[in-house]
């Protein structure tokens, strides 16, 4: 057992960290956010050049075959920078779905384009009443010759407005919440019958509403006609990635708060000299270290092949990250006082991002309920 990074992982970490330090200062990010796309295409090119877009793919496909730990390294750094570019949507979700759920020919054709920065992806899975249930799919896929015709709508598709192709779930058979009969399709957002409305999210990223009105999908764009277990694995990997991103964001909030406690003076001395604030910042540290531990656990367990063990571990991590981030984030704002409330200062932006992460792919309570239903983590099973 060891927690050391391999030589390759260390080099990856160095290069991503350098990118964030050099290119993703808070003031620089503010400028990127004002670009028409809501992110900076020049940064997308840089992320491409560093080679990060090929993370999940084998080297024959232009990637470097990264796993959970590599993903966590990149995402933690991106969390520190609050990266705006559609990396998570394109590589972690899109790339993951291609890798795990698409036919080899499709993967072979698309992965090099993703890795080369030529193809941005998004994943539509939320519907009006589905909340966090990936099996609650009412969008329909009707067989039509060798392809399908899709009808329905997908909500809050992260970076759906930037995507060149949208991967989405639609029901090929079964009833509304059945686990069987959920297909995975690739839709070109410019094709007839697709309507797309992009908008900013609370944390300054982008999302889109997608409606599908008799949208024809050719056989080549049917990735999988019964995909739920594979999608669940990709979502588990995505949750692990979000956990790492949240840890990066939490670390910045902790650093900013400590810096503020040491420099802000009231009553003639630094406010960090007051015991009530010292103890509260220690509790923030506890929350951060517990979250970091579970993000590591998630990174490793994301590759677990036993689905129930994997999902329990990922749920446990999502619970810890949700609880820790909420506590640490609220305290970070409170300890800053008025300046923490402003849009101009950084800490609020980190707070908003971790708050949104809790709402993605199941909040802390949803995952706690899942974990409880499946006997918890220790001792005898229920």
């Amino acid at each position: 057992m060891d927690f050391d990074l391999s030589e390759d992982q260390r080099l990856l970490k160095e290069s991503v960290d350098r990118f964030i330090t050099d290119q993703y200062g808070f003031e620089q990010r503010k400028k990127y956010m004002r670009e028409p796309a809501g992110y900076n295409p020049a940064m997308w090119d840089q992320i491409t050049e560093i080679g990060l877009l090929g993370l999940p793919f084998e080297d024959t496909l232009g990637g470097f075959g990264g796993g959970g730990v590599e993903t966590a390294i990149v995402m933690e750094a991106f969390g520190r920078g609050l990266v705006l570019e559609p990396y998570f949507a394109t590589v972690i979700l899109g790339g993951g779905l291609l890798r795990r759920a698409a036919p080899e020919a499709t993967l072979g054709a698309l992965a090099p384009r993703v890795a080369g920065g030529k193809l941005k992806l998004a994943f539509g899975h939320v519907e009006r009443h589905s909340r966090y249930d990936l099996a609650d799919v009412t969008t329909t896929a009707r067989k039509d010759g060798s392809g399908y015709v899709l009808n329905g709508a997908k909500s809050v598709v992260i970076h759906g407005d930037a995507a060149d192709k949208i991967l989405l779930t639609a029901r090929t058979g079964g009833e509304r919440r059945d686990r069987a009969g959920i297909g995975l399709f690739m839709v070109d957002p410019t094709s007839p019958g697709v309507a797309r409305r992009g908008y900013p999210t609370q944390d300054g990223l982008r999302a889109a509403e997608i409606t599908l009105d008799n949208v024809r999908v050719s056989a080549g764009d049917v990735l999988n006609d019964n995909a739920l277990p594979l999608i669940e694995h990709v979502v588990d990997e995505a949750i692990a990635a979000l956990c790492a991103e949240a840890v990066g964001a939490m670390q910045v909030m902790q650093d900013l708060t400590l810096e503020y406690l040491k420099t802000r003076k009231q009553f003639g001395r630094p406010i960090g000299s007051f015991q009530v604030l010292q103890h509260r910042s220690v509790d923030m540290l506890v929350a951060l270290e517990q979250a970091r531990s579970m993000a590591l656990f998630a990174a490793v367990m994301a590759e677990e092949t036993n689905p129930i063990e994997r999902r329990k571990a990922i749920s446990a991590a999502k619970v810890q990250i949700g609880r820790s981030a909420r506590h640490l984030g609220q305290e970070a704002i409170q300890l800053h006082g008025g300046i923490g409330m402003t849009n101009e200062y950084a800490v609020g932006h980190y707070f908003k991002r971790v708050t949104m992460i809790d709402q993605m792919f199941g909040d802390a309570d949803t995952h706690l309920a899942f974990l409880a239903r499946h006997g918890g983590l220790f001792g005898r099973a229920a």
Binding site: L285, R292, S293
Partner: protein, 398 residues
């Protein structure tokens, strides 16, 4: 990064698991599982079994019976011991006074005390806290005056755990009243049979008798019982307190408690269903399990890091082990009590020594006393508030 244990580590874990579950008498392990107090004989029996294998003092220098284990082995040893409900070696002996004597004592003192301490031929207790010196330990006033080849000790210690069992006490005493607080303290070993020592029990709210007051009235202590140098006792005390970094989280104990809670929750009913199927109960338990898993990972991070850190340096994560570990232990005793339901109410120590049947299921009797008793874990060894002071200063630089 690899969270799996190596083949050798797994073999060691299995060896430890087998040993703790077969060599330590079932009757003793059952008491630990139930939270029932151990007798002096129980503790000594368990420690001698461990010591016969060289496993009572793995943290000591090898020449005095230590094991030179890797941090991972130490972790596995503790985890398996705690999960098996095996009593830990007497902490006063093996993780407190033993390492101090091994580090700072002279050769004669080591020969005289270390083998007997490892084998629990001497049962030690700790004389640190005083009525006026709890969190502010350095303000202690029990004084030791040098008269020829003796110290004359006068004063009072309090919260002295298991003083009623102890053969010897290791004490912090003031030897230089004129010096700055921390610089006038010495570390003295005192035979409890010396005339002038009185032990008076303090009954805690759970009805237990663990802690005591110890009074010293002109107690004569041979000067050779001074550990190290006079007035350097505060340094030795800091060494002692900083010694145990990872076992302090007691993750293995908490795992054993969770297993117990789940076992009992299958026997107790809430309406038509056993409690183990009650969603609200399971979610409360799962919330603690998540925190415990995180703490276990935090501990493993510290363990893995220990190989690389210079001596004396501390991984920031290690500072949270006691803070979080104590709260988790308390939450689990709370849940254990909730599982039992109304049968937590009878105060059954009332029946000790009488030939009367217990009321309700056997497992119910200690649930409430254990809950009450475990409030101590966030108080002893430096309260959680003192821990926060230390972390704020040492780790956060506030």
């Amino acid at each position: 990064m690899d969270l799996n244990f190596t083949k050798e580590e797994i073999a060691f874990r299995d060896e430890a698991r087998h040993f703790f579950r077969t060599a330590i008498p079932e009757s003793i392990r059952a008491k630990v599982a139930e939270g029932e107090g151990l007798t002096r004989d129980d503790m000594i029996t368990a420690q001698r079994i461990l010591n016969a294998r060289g496993w009572a003092t793995p943290n000591w220098p090898v020449e005095w019976g230590g094991q030179d284990w890797s941090p991972v082995q130490v972790y596995l040893y503790q985890d398996e011991m705690q999960q098996a409900n095996c009593p830990s070696p007497i902490a006063f002996n093996t993780s407190m006074v033993g390492p101090v004597i091994a580090q700072f004592g002279n050769e004669e003192m080591k020969r005289r005390f270390l083998p007997a301490t490892a084998n629990a031929d001497i049962f030690w207790c700790q004389g640190f806290s005083e009525p006026g010196s709890g969190s502010d330990l350095a303000s202690l006033r029990t004084k030791a005056e040098r008269k020829g080849d003796k110290y004359i000790v006068n004063g009072q210690k309090i919260w002295t755990t298991l003083a009623q069992y102890a053969d010897w006490i290791f004490c912090l005493v003031r030897t230089d009243p004129a010096a700055k607080q921390q610089e006038g303290i010495s570390f003295l070993l005192i035979d409890m049979k010396t005339p002038g020592i009185t032990v008076r029990p303090i009954v805690t709210m759970d009805g237990g008798r663990e802690v005591n007051e110890v009074f010293f009235d002109n107690v004569e202590v041979p000067a050779e019982n001074l550990v190290g140098r006079e007035n350097k006792g505060w340094d030795y005390a800091k060494f002692l307190l900083g010694n145990e970094r990872t076992g302090i989280a007691r993750v293995g104990n908490s795992k054993a408690k969770i297993a117990r809670i789940k076992e009992l929750a299958a026997l107790e009913f809430a309406g038509e269903q056993p409690l183990i199927q009650n969603a609200r109960f399971l979610e409360k338990l799962a919330a603690v399990e998540v925190e415990l898993k995180a703490l276990e990972m935090t501990q493993l991070r510290v363990v893995s890091d220990e190989r690389k850190l210079e001596k004396g340096k501390q991984n920031p994560a290690s500072s949270i082990l006691k803070l979080k570990g104590s709260v988790i232990q308390q939450q689990l005793t709370e849940l254990l009590m909730e599982v039992v339901g109304p049968y937590v109410m009878p105060y059954q120590r009332e029946f000790d020594g009488k030939n009367e049947p217990i009321v309700g299921p056997e497992y119910a009797t200690e649930a409430a006393p254990m809950y009450f008793n475990y409030r101590k874990v966030s108080i002893y060894g430096g309260s959680n508030e003192i821990q926060r002071n230390i972390i704020a200063k040492a780790i956060l630089g506030l």
